[in-house]
Amino acid sequence: MLTSPAAAPAGRREGAEAVAHRARRRTIASATALTALLLVILASLALGVRDINPAEVWRALTAPVAGFVDHDVVLDQRLPRTIVGLAAGVALGAAGTLIQGVTRNPIADPGLLGLNSGASLAVVCAVWLFGITSPIGYVWFAFLGAAGAAAIVFSVGRGQPVRLALVGAAVTALITPLITLVLLRDQQAFNLYRFWSVGSLTGRGLDTVTALWPFIVVGVVLAAVLSHRLNMLALGDDVATALGQRVGTTRLFAAVAIVLLAGTATSLAGPIALVGLVVPHAARRLVGTDYRWIMGIGMLLGPVMLLSADVLGRLILPRAELEAGVVAALLGAPVLIAVARSKNVVGA
């Protein structure tokens, strides 16, 4: 066998240390992400425009007194938005990781595939044509719109990264003026769209999550199973195929999972920008290039980012709130710029 110039034994010892170091790093990253998630859930329940002391928040959750305003605020407002944020955040983290993995495109996110514009068009049409204005009514339209747009993009794009991006852009370009057309015609649709399109966790009842959670569960399970396949796909379609992967099948299941996850997230919280884009990059920074770890950490960081955005939005302005979608964009953009500036832009 060929000998290499460097002394092998020293290299190997270093190797074992490096492996242990990375394993430690992954454990720390998982623990940190999990702790951050717990903290942000607590913050989301405890903090808001209305000052409620933590003990009262705890009582609201354990022994609520009907009609007591503090308790009602916690149970009817903060708890639902926390659960919506949790569900949408997990879905966005997983969907963003899947999209970037399957397209090998570091700037892919649900918006790239036309999902957001599809959902938006369906929502404004629901208001315009059927007068539906309650969240539990239009979530289904949002979901179908997202799924429809994604179906078109995936079937025309045939899983090829560049083609997907082009078709996604084309579909968005086609849908955006249609949305405008409806908004110009219908005052009610315009009013609802103003708030929906920003992306927010407020004003949704728990019934929306109750209606949509099975989609998230199926999507999350699919995403977890697919994560190891993304590792092979990252080496190129040919290598993945040569390693025994059915690349077309992987892409198909990934597309289904993306539609379920991103479609549900958009239905629940509106078109939230940047969470699906930034979270996988942050996860890569923490745990490296293995998609099984990126996926797991991404599913934790998604709700961390979305709920932090929501909580910050409650605290930034005195006696008023900023929508989570706005804050998420404000938080996400600097992260994205940092990723772009670093020499290690991860392409796959």
């Binding site: 190891h228 190129g236 290598v239 195929t241 991860v346």
Partner: protein, 265 residues
Amino acid sequence: MTNLRAESVSLGYDGLRVIEELDLTLPDGKITAVVGPNACGKSTLLRGLARLHPLDGGRITLDGADITAMPRKELARKVGMLPQSSIAPDGVRVAELVSRGRYPHQGWFGRHSSDDDAVVTTALESTGVADLADRPVAELSGGQRQRVWIAMVLAQQTDIVLLDEPTTFLDVRHQLDLLDLLTELNRDRGTTVAMVLHELNLAARYADHLVVMAAGRIVAEGAPSDVLTREVVDEAFGLRAQVVLDPVAGSPLVVPVGRYHSSAG
């Protein structure tokens, strides 16, 4: 003994035939090199053999069984292939990339067994990249990177390894280095190696079995000293050349003539 064979195989792109009814058997336990001018279909043939390219006709068999009837993972445990279009994800480290070669031996979540670790270590060692195990692949030289990819294919533990132009982009020293490495794999493990090569003289030196292709068919095949004649070079490449003996290896050495130099003697 595993025997990969193309039987009357036709291959093409979007209805355009590149290869028409071609027969080829890779000699078991030998090194086969496929040479030919650009666009003669040599890479397409190799991709067909690895089931990376759908057949328009004919069939490819492994020990007599049609490979299209086989689950892909099962095929990937028997035939390894290093395509030209491999991508090393940014930030990926050598050992991690090589361990992905274990995929066809793993279940859904790719749980790593101690068996996998041993195979990966052996693959790293036999390609001489063990000391680079923790380095990001992106930081390596072209020659080192190619060794890492070969280590990944070795981790697949297949009896047959196909390589599509593995020496492209390497300087002459690293080309020899890589071909030496493949020779060692062939000798030490009995691995059947088949590769597409551009460099005629290196192909003639390293191959046990040389396949010369032109326009989608095989012009000649056999031992390099039998195959690589002046006539075959002219027929396949449209190239006037002299064929002499390689003073080092004793294999045929093609010396092209060109338009500005006369071919005296």
